[in-house]
Every structure is written in C-alpha cells, then in structure tokens.
C-alpha cells in the first residue's frame, strides 16, 4: 500500500514536471521568441476571427430566444436615447416667436415664450447628456459572452449557457495564468534589461540596445494582454524632438504605443513596483519623471518638456492631453500645456474594439490591480492605431485653438465624438462661468451687442 502511494506521488511529480516543461517550452517558442524578434505567428488573428463567429452566433441565438419567449430585447444606444434638434439658440427662439405674433421680428424684445427653449434644453440634458455617459464603459450591441457586458442574458438555451460556461473556464483557467506569467516575464525582463543597459557609457550603442530592450519587453506585455493591434500610416511615426499626443482610454495605451516605437514617458514618480520600473527605465534612456511637488508648478513642467524636445538625440515625448481616462466613444478637452511648447506635434488616434473586452479604466470603480485582472480575463484587447501627419502651430493660432484642431483631427480619424467638455468633469462639477456663454448669446438677441448699445 505504502509502496503504491509512494510511487503514485512521484508519478504525479514527474507528470507535473513534464507538463511544466512542455508549458514553458510552448510559451517560449510560440510567444516569447517571436516577441523578441518582433515577428507575429498569426495565432492571435486566427483567435480573433473564431471569437467573432462565436459572438455572432450567440447574439442571433439570444435574439431568436427572446422572440420565441416574447421578451423585449434591450438595444443600447451610444449616441443618445432622445432626438435632439441641432438648432442654435437664436434659431430656435426665433422659431418659437414666429408663431406668437406677426410683429417685426428684427426688433429685439423679450417674449414669455423664450423660456421654452431653456426649459426644454434643460430637461433634455436631464434625460440624456453628452458628458455623463463618457465615464462608464461603452454599451455593446451584441453579446460577447462576458457576464459584465450582458444585458439580456437569461437562460435562453442550454447551448448558450454551456458556451458561456466554457468561455469562463477557458478565460480564467487557461488564458489568465498564461497571461500573468507573460506579464511577469515582460516586466522582469524590462527591469533587468534596462538596468544592464544602464551600465554602458552613453552613446549610440547604448541607445540602440535600450531601444531593443524596451521594444522586446513591451511586445511581451502586449502578448500578455493578448492585444491585437493594427497600426495605420506608420510613415507618420513620431520622430525625435517632437511630442506625441493621443486620446486616453486606459494605462494600456502606453504599452500599445511603446511596442511599436520608442518614446520618452512623462509621469509622476511612484513608490513600490512602479517606482522600481521607473528608476530602471530611466537608466537606459531619459524619461521625464516628476516629483509630486513639481507637478503643480506649471512653468517647471513646461521647462523640462521644452529642454527635452530641444535635444534632438532624445526620444519623442508621449503625452495624453485629456488628463484622464475617457471611455473611447469621444475625445474630451485637450489641456493646452503641451501645446504651448512650440514643437512638432504628432497626433495619434487609438480606437479599441469593445467586442473583445472593454479597455476603459474607470478609476473610481476599480483599482489598478483589479483593472489589470479584468483585462487579462477578457477575450482580447483589439485596437487600431492611426498615426496622423505631424502638425505645428500656425500663425495667429493660440495654444487652445491649436489643441482643439489636433483634437478634432484625432476624433475624426478614430470615429469618436469631438467634445469641448473637460475630462476633469469626471470628478468635479462644471465651473459656473460657463453659464455666461448662454447668457451672452441670449442677451445679444434681446439688447444687441454692447458696442451697439453704447453708440445709441
């Protein structure tokens, strides 16, 4: 009996040992080695195609099931739930007045009916406004077998439930451990590699090696998230001495961009693991890390950034001017700080495909670790990156106008809604001074421009 158990034990050990070795070899051959050389075996694209087919089937099945049971199917609308008139304040108020009286419309006078415009606009914004929905994950029109994005799932068919269960198993028991292993490998290699490169004296060889190390590790991280990225217009990739600006959806944006090119990162100095990574990265090539106290001093920040861009041997800076994570359906106000520096800007548009996993980081709901776990237990992160042609500030254009111009270009390319609202509204209320805009518009209708008044 004893003998039996003993040999059984060692049998298990041997089996575990073999499977571990097999596991690691497969990992190495199929994932890490291609990552090091920047080669893709096409496994991820195949995976994506298969998933899409399954999702389509699942959605059709739900629709059919709902019809049979006579349930109402909920179709989410990203673009709003109510019909809004695209008329300006002036046009609408004139239209209201037209029906009131046949008085001379050009005489600016107050009508009791003017209030209807503001009233309706106000209630419209209560029912549906442009800003609130930008800070929660985008709603999907079809189901992607993840419970978190599911609105209509009731037990419709056995096959669907089994599929969902299978998906759960695959994601948590196979994909998640695989990805976590890769992530640790990637980060570990980054720290070790950059520290080693840091020992070398400054010069072209060091820059060359540092580039290779950075790219390799970011590519491993990309595979750790199963990110399937399509880069467009790579001829416009940012060059030294410029600033790269992109829309911000999650911290993963950095990994996505940095696996295709080398950038100088900008950010606050952290403690802990992040701090270790930051310190070792800066040994290999110059990044810009700010102490917490320095962040408040806008002049200091601007000076360090401009010093960096003037040195043409240093890498392009990567900045996210929105200042916070937005849910990838829109682009919100770009802060003008980086647009005042006066160098070439390289706009980049990043658009995620939410069917495979929503990359938006809702920092008020999830911490960094739970966010990463969610990312690693989604199907995949699929996104498109467009490198837009470089732009510089034109004559007579101030920083705000320049920022808005770049923002519109990014929004247009990525198919995102271009909003003027500040991303900071995620956490704060809007400033009361914006009310003045509406008041000015309305008063112009009633009493004309201030200049006219002083003349008469």
């Amino acid at each position: 009996m004893f003998f039996f158990l003993f040999s059984f034990d060692s049998l298990i050990c041997i089996l575990l040992g073999i499977s571990f070795t097999v596991w690691f070899t497969l990992l190495l051959v199929f994932i890490i080695v291609p990552a090091i050389f920047g080669v893709s075996l096409g496994i991820r694209k195949l995976y994506m195609k298969t998933l899409l087919k399954i999702f389509k089937w699942a959605t059709l099945r739900i629709e059919r099931g709902a019809k049979e049971k006579n349930h109402l199917l909920y179709k989410p609308y990203t673009n709003g739930i109510i019909a809004k008139e695209p008329m300006s304040l002036e046009e609408e108020i004139r239209e209201i007045r037209r029906s009131v009286s046949s008085k001379d419309l050009s005489s600016p006078e107050f009508e009791m009916s003017d209030i209807f415009y503001f009233c309706r606009k106000g209630v419209e914004s209560i029912m549906d406004d442009e800003v609130t929905k930008r800070f929660s994950p985008e709603e999907l029109e079809s189901w992607n077998l993840l419970t978190r994005s599911n609105y209509n799932f009731q037990h419709i068919s056995l096959r669907l439930t089994v599929l969902w269960g299978l998906g759960l198993l695959i994601r948590y028991c196979f994909l998640l451990p695989l990805r976590v292993t890769l992530a640790f490998t990637g980060v570990g290699l980054l720290v070790v590699g950059t520290t080693m490169v840091g020992i070398l004296p400054n010069g072209r060889f060091k820059n060359f090696l540092s580039e290779k190390v950075h790219l390799m590790c970011y590519r491993i991280c990309v595979r750790a998230l199963t990110a399937i990225i399509t880069y467009h217009d790579s001829e416009n990739k940012p060059k030294n001495g410029g600033i790269c600006v992109a829309n911000h959806t999650s911290p993963i944006d950095v990994i996505i961009l940095a696996s295709d090119g080398c950038y100088a990162m900008v950010g606050q100095v952290h403690g802990g693991l992040m701090g270790i990574i930051q310190r070792s990265m800066v040994k290999a090539c110059p990044h810009i890390w700010f102490e917490r106290s320095e962040v408040k001093d806008r002049n200091l920040v601007a000076k360090r950034l401009s010093d960096h861009v003037e040195d043409k041997t240093k890498l392009p800076i990567l900045i996210f001017p929105e200042g916070t994570c937005i849910n990838n359906t829109s682009v919100m106000m770009f802060k003008k700080g980086s647009f005042e520096i006066g160098t070439t800007m390289y706009p980049v548009a990043i658009k995620y495909d939410p069917r495979f996993g929503d990359a938006f980081w809702n920092s008020s709901k999830f911490g960094m670790v739970s966010y990463l776990l969610r990312m690693m237990s989604s199907w995949a992160i699929v996104c498109s990156v467009w490198y837009l042609p470089p732009v510089t500030r034109e004559e007579g254009e101030d920083a705000v106008q320049f920022a808005n111009r770049v923002k519109s270009a990014i929004a247009r390319q990525g198919g995102l809604v271009d909003l003027l609202w500040d991303g900071g509204l995620k956490r704060e209320k809007v400033k009361g001074t914006f009310k003045e805009e509406q008041q000015k518009l309305y008063s112009k209708m009633l009493v004309g421009n201030p200049e006219d008044r002083s003349r008469s």
Partner: protein, 194 residues
Amino acid sequence: MGCNGSTLAKIHNLDELILETGFSSSHICRLYDRFHALDKDDKGSLNRSDFQNISELAVNPLGDRIINAFFPDGMDLIDFNSFVRILARFRPVDQNPKKEPNAPEPINSRVNKLKFAFQLYDQDKDGKISKNELLQVLRMMLGVQVTEEQLESITDRTIQEADLDGDNAISFKEFKKSLDKVDIEHKMSIRFLR
C-alpha cells in the same frame, strides 16, 4: 442594467406608471438606467447635487429653476416614479387621442406643459407671476449682460402686454392666453429614439 425581466420587476407599480405617463416599458427602462447613472451613490433616489452634476444642466441659465421643478413641496429627494412622472410632461402629444368625456387630463397635455413652464416663473406658487418674479427670471437668463434699467423696462412692457385684469401680475390664465399661438406641443416635447 438593461431591460430584462428582473429590471422591470424592480420598478414599483410599473403598469400604473405606464398607464399614467403613456411611456412604453422600453422607454421606462431607459429612464431607469438613466436614473441610476445619475445616482452615483446608489441611494435609490436623486438629490439636487446629482442633478447639478449634469454639466449641460449646470450651464443652463435656468438650470436651478428646472431642478427645483423636480423637488416640489420642499422635498430633498426624488424617487424613480416621481422622476418619470415629471419627465412624462415632455412626452410628445398623442396625435389622435381617444377623447373620453370624463377622462383626466393626460399628463403631457398642452395645459400641463404650460403649467410646467409657469412654475419656473412663479416661485412662491401663488398662481401669479409678479413683477419681481419676472425680473428674477430675466436676470437669470441674461446674467450681467444687461443693465438694471433695461431689465426693468423689459419687465414692465411684458407685464403690460400680458396683464389683462390690471393687477400688475400675470395669472396662469393670462399666461396661457398670451401663448395661445405658440407651438408648445412641439417646443416642449422630447421624443425618444424608438
């Protein structure tokens, strides 16, 4: 989130609500999602602060007055059913209403839309818009862009035109009469996309 059976079950008196407001169950579902998106602390009800968080409402000159319309009788919290009932006033008017002789006024009738607008003016709820109340609303809509004298003259003229019984204030009847020709059904209606 979403409109399955479990969501609908959470709404109290759903059938009553549908009957009273005329919204379909999918509209009420969407409003339910909206209510909860605004209710960031998951209280189950909304307070004034939740409304003030809506950026587009906060920059509306009459924003505060509109918010007050949702909190009648000095209450500080509004639940979902009351929320829907107030929004129901902005439902587009039915094209071919079945007019039963003793049926109550539908919640989105022309008169009720006018009453909503009237309460934005009539703060003390005495049924009349006094000169002072009109001045206040004008001040809100115009801010610091006009002078006190201009405001006074606009107010005086408006009251002169609308006031029919000479009490220097505008009653609801006079308000209704002065807006007789305005296309309120259109201008005070909000249509759901499907």
